[in-house]
C-alpha cells in the first residue's frame, strides 16, 4: 500500500498540495484535475523527484528514510521526458535494466512490444516526441516496481501504440503491479477492474 501522511507542497507562498491522509491500495488509479491543479506535482513527489513536507511510504518503506529502497519500488515517467540527446535509446535501456535489475527477457519483450527496434540504436536527439515517449514507457516497465507512475501516458504516442500500452498495463496488473496515472481520458482496459478515480482540486486530493 502506498500511503501519504500530512503532505504539503508549496512554491514560495503558493500552496500546491495539502494532503492529510491518502492511501493507494492495489489496482489502477486515475488522477484527474484541471491544468495546473497539481497532478504532475503529486506524481513527481511519489516518484521521488521533488522534495516535499510530510511522509510517503510504500508499506513500511519510507521515501525520505529509505531513499534507495523506496525508489526501487516505484517507476515514474514524466509527461514530456527529456533525455540526453547524444545517448541512444539502447544506452538508456541498458542503464535502466542494470539499475532496476531487469532481466534480458523482459527487456527484449518490451522493445518488441513497443516496436522500437528500428530506432533504439540511434541517438535520442534524432527521435520525434512520440518515439521519446515510447522509449520512456519501455523504461517505466523495466524491473520489478510495485507502483508504476505514468504522467499523461497517452499524450504524443500514436494510436497503434495505445492498445499495446493498455495490454501491458493489464499484463502487469495481473502480476500485482499497481498503476497511478494522470490522463485526460480513462484507461478502458478490457478484462480489468475499472480504475479508481481521484481528483486534485484546490490543493486537495480525494477519491471520486
Amino acid at each position: 500500500m502506498l500511503s501519504i501522511h500530512k503532505l504539503k507542497k508549496q512554491y514560495g507562498s503558493h500552496l500546491i498540495l495539502e494532503i492529510d491522509q491518502l492511501q493507494f491500495d492495489s489496482g489502477l488509479f486515475w488522477i484527474q484535475g484541471l491544468n495546473g491543479s497539481g497532478k504532475s506535482t503529486l506524481l513527481k513527489i511519489l516518484g521521488g523527484i521533488i522534495p516535499f513536507k510530510g511522509e510517503v511510504q510504500i508499506d513500511s518503506t519510507s521515501l525520505k528514510k529509505q531513499t534507495t529502497e523506496y525508489r526501487r519500488l516505484v517507476s515514474y515517467v514524466e509527461a514530456e521526458p527529456l533525455y540526453p540527446p547524444f545517448l541512444t535509446g539502447s544506452d538508456l535501456i541498458s542503464f535502466y535494466s542494470a539499475t532496476r535489475k531487469a532481466s534480458k527477457e523482459q527487456l527484449n519483450q518490451l522493445i518488441e512490444r513497443f516496436n522500437i527496434q528500428s530506432f533504439v540504436q540511434n541517438p535520442i536527439g534524432t527521435y520525434s516526441s512520440g518515439m521519446v515517449k515510447k522509449l520512456s514507457l519501455v523504461l517505466a516497465f523495466l524491473g520489478n516496481p510495485k507502483y508504476i507512475l505514468l504522467d499523461e501516458p497517452l499524450v504524443t504516442i500514436d494510436k497503434d501504440s495505445v492498445p499495446i500500452l493498455l495490454e501491458l498495463v493489464k499484463k502487469y496488473s495481473d502480476e500485482g503491479i499497481n498503476f497511478i496515472f494522470t490522463s485526460h481520458q480513462a484507461f478502458e482496459v478490457s478484462g480489468l477492474a475499472p480504475s479508481q478515480e481521484l481528483e486534485v482540486k484546490d490543493t486537495r486530493v480525494c477519491f471520486l
Binding site: 512554491y11 516518484g47 521521488g48 523527484i49 521533488i50 522534495p51 525520505k64 531513499t67 534507495t68 529502497e69 525508489r71 526501487r72 516505484v74 517507476s75 515514474y76 514524466e78 521526458p81 527529456l82 533525455y83 540526453p84 540527446p85 547524444f86 545517448l87 544506452d91 541498458s94 542503464f95 535502466y96 542494470a98 539499475t99 532496476r100
Partner: protein
C-alpha cells in the same frame, strides 16, 4: 560610437556591470579599501613589482584575469540566447570586420577594470625595465580580447552551431554507458570548446609552474599549478550541473544510493583530471605526491559540484564561491596544510550531497 556599439553597450555592458556591482565593490574594497589612503600608491607599486618579478605570481594573476574573461564570455553568450535579445542576430548581416570591431569594443568595455589596472602594470613594468613580463601582460590581454571577440562574432554568425570549433571528433562508446560517461559525453559532444580550453589552460598552468627553477624537490609548486587549473574548471562544473537539471532529472528517481551517486560524481572528475595527472607524472612528481594531488583535485571539484545542489544556482554566485575556495586553498597549500584540506573537502562534499540532494528543487 557606432549605433551598433551603442546597442551592444546598452544591452550587454550596462547589464554586466549592474549584475556584478556587488562583486566589483568587493574587489575594489579588497584592492583599495584595506590600505591607508597615504599608502595606496606604495602598496600597489609593491604588488605590481612583485607580480612582474615572480613568474608564479604573474601566472596566478593571469589565472584570475582568465576567470574574469570566462565570466564575461559566459555572460554575453547567455545574453545572446535570451529571447528579448534575439534581435542581436541581425548583427550577423554586418560585414565581418564591422561586426568584429563592434564586439571587440563591447568586450573591451566589460574587460575595462582589468585593462585600467594593467595600464599601471605596463607603465611601471617598462619604467622598471621588466620588459618580458610586461610584454607578456600585453600579449595576454590582446589574446583574451581578440579570441573572445572572435568567439562571440562567430556565435552571432552561426547561432545554431552547438560547438564553436570541432576540435574533437564525435566519440561513440561501444559498451553500455555507465552514469559517469553521460557527463563526459556531454562535455565531449556538446561543449568541446569549453573542455578543450579548460584542459589546455589547466595543463599549461601546471607546466608553467613546474618550470620554476628550484634547488630541491618541492611538491607544492606542482600543487599550486594544479590549483590554478582547477579554478578554471568552474565553467565545466556549472555546465554539468545545468546538464543534470535539464536532461538527467530521471536519475533522482532511480534506486541509486547516495554513496554510489557520490562515488560516480567523483569518478567523473577523476577521469576529467587525466590530462593534469599525466602532466604531473611527466614532470617527475613523486608517486605519493601524485596520488595526494589526484585525491586533492578530485575532492576539490566534487566539492564545488556538491555546493551547486541548490534551488537557485547562478554563475555569478558560483564564480565568487569558486574564487573564494581557490584563495583559501592557495594559502593552505602554501602553508602545507593541504592534507587536512583534502579530508575536509571530501567530508564537506559528502555532507552537502547528503543534506541537499533530495531536498532542493531548481526554481523556474
Amino acid at each position: 560610437m557606432l549605433p551598433v556599439s551603442k546597442v551592444l553597450t546598452r544591452v550587454i555592458v550596462k547589464k554586466f556591470y549592474e549584475r556584478n556591482a556587488g562583486l566589483f565593490f568587493f574587489i575594489f574594497y579588497l584592492m583599495f579599501g584595506i590600505v591607508e589612503p597615504n599608502q595606496i600608491f606604495g602598496y600597489h607599486q609593491s604588488l605590481i613589482y612583485g607580480t612582474l618579478s615572480s613568474t608564479v605570481f604573474l601566472l596566478v594573476v593571469m589565472g584570475v584575469w582568465c576567470l574574469y574573461a570566462i565570466k564575461y564570455l559566459r555572460f554575453i553568450l547567455v545574453e545572446f540566447d535570451q529571447p528579448q535579445n534575439k534581435f542581436l542576430l541581425e548583427l550577423s548581416k554586418l560585414s565581418p570586420s564591422k561586426l568584429f570591431w563592434s564586439i571587440l569594443l563591447t568586450v573591451t568595455l566589460v574587460y575595462e577594470p582589468v585593462l585600467i589596472y594593467s595600464t599601471f602594470i605596463v607603465f611601471l613594468g617598462f619604467a622598471a625595465h621588466q620588459y618580458w613580463p610586461t610584454i607578456a601582460v600585453i600579449v595576454f590581454h590582446s589574446t583574451i580580447l581578440i579570441s573572445t571577440s572572435f568567439l562571440l562574432a562567430r556565435r552571432l554568425n552561426l547561432p545554431h552551431e552547438k560547438t564553436i570549433f570541432s576540435f574533437f571528433p564525435t566519440v561513440r562508446w561501444p559498451w553500455p554507458k555507465p552514469v559517469p560517461i553521460f557527463y563526459i559525453s556531454q562535455l565531449v559532444n556538446q561543449l568541446p570548446t569549453v573542455l578543450f580550453f579548460t584542459k589546455a589552460f589547466s595543463v599549461f598552468a601546471i607546466y608553467g609552474f613546474m618550470q620554476i627553477p628550484l634547488d630541491h624537490y618541492e611538491p607544492r609548486v606542482a600543487l599550486l599549478g594544479l590549483l590554478i587549473g582547477l579554478m578554471s574548471h568552474s565553467v565545466i562544473i556549472f555546465e554539468l550541473r545545468k546538464f543534470e537539471e535539464t536532461y538527467l532529472r530521471f536519475l533522482r528517481g532511480m534506486p541509486i544510493s547516495l554513496p554510489e551517486r557520490f562515488l560516480k560524481m567523483a569518478l567523473v572528475y577523476s577521469v576529467l583530471l587525466l590530462p593534469e595527472i599525466g602532466m604531473l607524472a611527466l614532470r617527475g612528481v613523486h608517486i605519493l605526491d601524485l596520488t595526494g594531488a589526484v585525491i586533492f583535485a578530485t575532492g576539490y571539484l566534487t566539492l564545488i559540484h556538491c555546493k551547486l545542489f541548490q534551488s537557485e544556482f547562478n554563475m555569478d554566485k558560483h564564480t565568487t564561491w569558486t574564487l573564494g575556495l581557490f584563495l583559501i586553498s592557495f594559502i593552505l597549500v602554501l602553508f602545507k596544510i593541504y592534507l587536512i584540506e583534502t579530508v575536509l573537502m571530501w567530508g564537506l562534499a559528502y555532507f552537502w550531497l547528503k543534506r541537499d540532494y533530495y531536498g532542493y528543487e531548481v526554481s523556474g
